[in-house]
Symmetry: C2
Subunit: 396 residues, 2 copies
């Protein structure tokens, strides 16, 4: 009795469930400590201490009907103002609260954006490899996802291929940097080139193309790398931000959209985002955590914990013969598989109790994704299993 | 550049915004204390003290990565189990956690339900007067809202009219008791008759008709009235519950769906709800508040505060000549207007600084909705304004 659309979606999701079940099955046989699950993107680093202190302060000082009550569907004005000021200071911009909509995480943000922008059949372009949920989000509004093939040597956006994909039906382009699954941070050069290409195509086709940067990993970067702020490079730009990773609060569903006030139809779009937040059933981003993050704008998780994990796993993989770009952000590695069939490779990995995600899930076969947001100990204990896997394929 | 669907939705929403702006305009001229805003459903009664104590306890005792982390998209299993046990004890049922999906409030719950059930063009029946958002929620999934005309003498569901509206395209019926906007609690007799009618029509047409009871006001009842629990009366039944009103936490977006385990395709539906929660961008109900409500299942706001408000306002309206059913639940009154044109009546009310919502917003013209979830003092001060309004219309 479920809808036809949902039937397909449930079938697709069963792959993830199957992996989860497989992990439980292996844990029963070999013991949980001997199963190495690199499949989940659930942050293991603790939220900063300041989060708890903030919650206590807010509960003690503010009226409960304010803290837990309804507000404007776009969020508390004071919270939005503080976020705008924070962005202005950090990136030299001049935004007001009117550019900010508080959202139920980045996922909620992307959904209200696509609700506002998409007519059925309009196209949204993504660069492979990409977070698989984009497909579902675009599908929610009967849009069409168009994939740009990857540049597997750099995993930067493939601009030449992008040019071929833009049509008069193109409504938006989604980028994700630091990237899930590659960990790559798009360079300023790449962003400039992307912005130039989109502007030229807008002119040529007489349309607006909205660039949406999905940035839950913005603060998870290593080695002093800078993540370009796309509002500085492109007029029709949105950023979807989330505190899920930067503050390790993924369950709390708190994030925001920031829109470039210079964009086409700015006022209409902001009014529509407000309405979309309401009618899609989000109503508003969770109220207490809106107030908490406004009090914790400077806080960050200890990124060094992830960096140590990255170095340990990356160095070992390179040593045993994997080819892999050294990621500068997020908490994923995306090495090539020694055979083209990444699904078979993941199957084989299970004999060593390694749970990996095939790159084809991200539109990029011939690779695997490893989430290293697990304990250092666990990664250390998993290294012999990777060595055995490499040996199975005579990798070195 | 916003989508065509959104253009209409934004235009419709501008009515609400206009009223809000009107309130601000009047407050500037006459002072805020002299403007009587009966238009908003934002609870003014404080959350129970136990909420704060629970938050502190959870933050002190549980691991932050558990409290703020991802869990199954349907919610924490222990939370769902506790809710199931609570329902079982209260209503003599035998539910397990598998019947419960934690949702971002009742609005989030209704949206994932409709995503799961509706194919484009399928019909959802509601009884006028009804909460206007149902129209938007059904529209999100290209369903068609079918309205059963009201029985304005009782505001109970109009079963004879319902029979005429059910077709082979009917997928669901949404009821809302205690009702927004009438405050009426559907009687057991009405629920039994409704269940019988739906079962007969299912048989006759060879289809499943899902009954969805939207129950954010379940605990807001007066004079010892009982709200029938529809899982006891109908097989294909869901309840959408929310803690927004029962615990005065509307901003926190916390609620759940409970499904009758005997319903058609139960397992498919529960798997699909899990996926729908994820792909619509809710991902999961806010994590901390899932744990908080599991610790506060017995807590309730002080309903007597609302009851006092109801009595004060209701008695005055009756005294000055309004016709109105005495509501047994929620925090709304829904009196008849002395003229058919409820919008004109609301316009006229503004000269006395009264902000009222026309019944036509709820599919029931010739009425107005008054939200009495404001302070007792404010209501008391507003009574002369209502008297003037009644006098304008020579109501007595």
């Amino acid at each position: 009795m479920i809808s036809n659309k949902m039937k397909t979606l449930v079938a697709n999701s069963s792959v993830i469930r199957a992996m989860f079940e497989e992990g439980k099955r292996l844990a029963k046989i070999h013991g949980e400590e001997n199963v190495f699950d690199f499949s989940l993107g659930n942050p293991n680093v603790e939220p900063p201490e300041h989060i708890k202190a903030s919650i206590l302060k807010i509960l003690n000082e503010e009226s409960p009907n304010l803290v837990h009550g309804y507000m404007n569907n776009s969020g508390y004005e004071d919270v939005r103002s503080k976020i705008a000021e924070f962005i202005n200071k950090k990136h030299g911009l001049d935004l007001s609260y009117e550019s900010i909509v508080m959202t139920c995480g980045a996922a909620g943000g992307l959904n209200i954006l696509l609700k506002v922008l998409l007519n059925p059949g309009e196209e949204v372009i993504v660069f492979a490899p990409f977070f698989g949920e984009y497909n579902n989000y675009v599908n929610n509004f009967d849009g069409k996802l168009v994939t740009v093939p990857p540049d597997i040597d750099t995993f930067e956006p493939n601009i030449e291929e992008l040019k071929k994909k833009i049509t008069s039906k193109t409504k938006a382009v989604i980028i994700n940097s630091p990237n899930n699954p590659t960990g790559v941070v798009y360079s300023e050069k790449a962003i400039k080139e992307l912005a130039k290409t989109l502007s030229e195509k807008e002119e040529e086709l007489g349309i607006s193309i909205y660039l949406i940067s999905d940035e839950p990993y913005r603060e998870i970067v290593y080695d002093g790398v800078e993540v370009p702020y796309i509002l500085k490079y492109y007029k029709n730009a949105f950023i979807g931000y989330s505190y899920s990773k930067s503050l390790s609060l993924p369950g709390e569903r708190i994030g925001y959209i920031v829109a470039n006030p210079k964009m086409d139809d700015f006022e209409d779009i902001m009014a529509a985002l407000n309405v979309a937040n309401r009618i899609l059933g989000f109503v508003n981003a969770p109220s207490l955590f809106q107030r908490v993050i406004a009090d914790c704008l400077d806080a960050e998780v200890d990124v060094n914990i992830y960096k140590r994990n990255r170095d340990l796993l990356y160095n070992h993989l390179i040593e045993i013969g994997f080819k892999c770009i050294k990621p500068e952000g997020a908490f994923y590695l995306f090495p090539r598989t020694p055979i083209e069939d990444d699904k078979k490779f993941c199957e084989d990995a299970k004999q060593f109790n390694l749970l990996l995600v095939p790159g084809s899930t991200f539109g990029c076969p011939g690779h695997i994704r490893l989430s290293y947001c697990i304990s250092y100990e666990k990664i250390k204990n998993s290294l012999p299993a990777f060595s055995k896997l490499a040996k199975l394929y005579n990798m070195k």
